[in-house]
Symmetry: C2
Subunit: 122 residues, 2 copies
């Protein structure tokens, strides 16, 4: 059987926001770098699970976005998991080049804040 | 000067959803494990930056949630950054014990999907 849309067993437990979207965190599978956060609907998750390429829903362009299709900075899918509430997705990928559209490796490289650092009690 | 609320320079660029919230990814600072995704408003980010303890807005309880306050599974803040669009926060923490309310170390340990794995072209 060719599955044409998201497996109903997954769709049944996925919890979407009011726009039908779920936040998806992309992480480099070997180094652990958190690369970016984007959004998936059912179809984007289906494509991510079945094509080997991380695919998102672009809220700004209102279209599916195969990461790297225009930039060449593809995300090759290694692992995918839903969180305990099924309302957040973790996608472990092999990121080619920069994950961020600014050219930075990750989307959190440029705007680092200065927190008070906490220390775990000994 | 004692800063009583989020630094205006940060608040000015923070992009919130229609509920005034921003997704925050908690990552173990040394191992790179992605622990959980939760939500912050301005005040939760302010507390996270100034107390050394990761603090979220609980959408289910509609109250501030100092992670570990009841469970003992605190998150001691090491680094905080905004992403390129200032609409997602990465908080690197030292997580005591389990990050997930289920008792798992991370919120993505239990519901692992089976993607088609992609391979970067050689």
């Amino acid at each position: 059987m060719v599955v044409m849309s998201l497996d109903p067993k997954i769709a049944d437990r996925l919890k979407r926001n009011s726009d039908g979207l779920v936040p998806a965190i992309a992480q480099q599978y070997d180094t652990g770098e958190v690369l970016m956060l984007a959004w998936m609907d059912d179809e984007a998750l289906h494509r991510t699970l079945t094509t080997g390429r991380a695919t998102y829903w672009s809220r700004s362009r209102q279209e599916y976005w195969v990461k790297g299709e225009s930039s060449g900075h593809q995300q090759w899918v290694k692992e995918v998991a839903l969180d305990c509430d099924a309302d957040a997705i973790l996608v472990k990928v092999d990121q080619v080049g920069a994950a961020c559209h600014t050219g930075d490796r990750t989307c959190w490289d440029a705007d680092v804040l200065e927190p008070v650092v906490g220390e775990r009690p000994q």
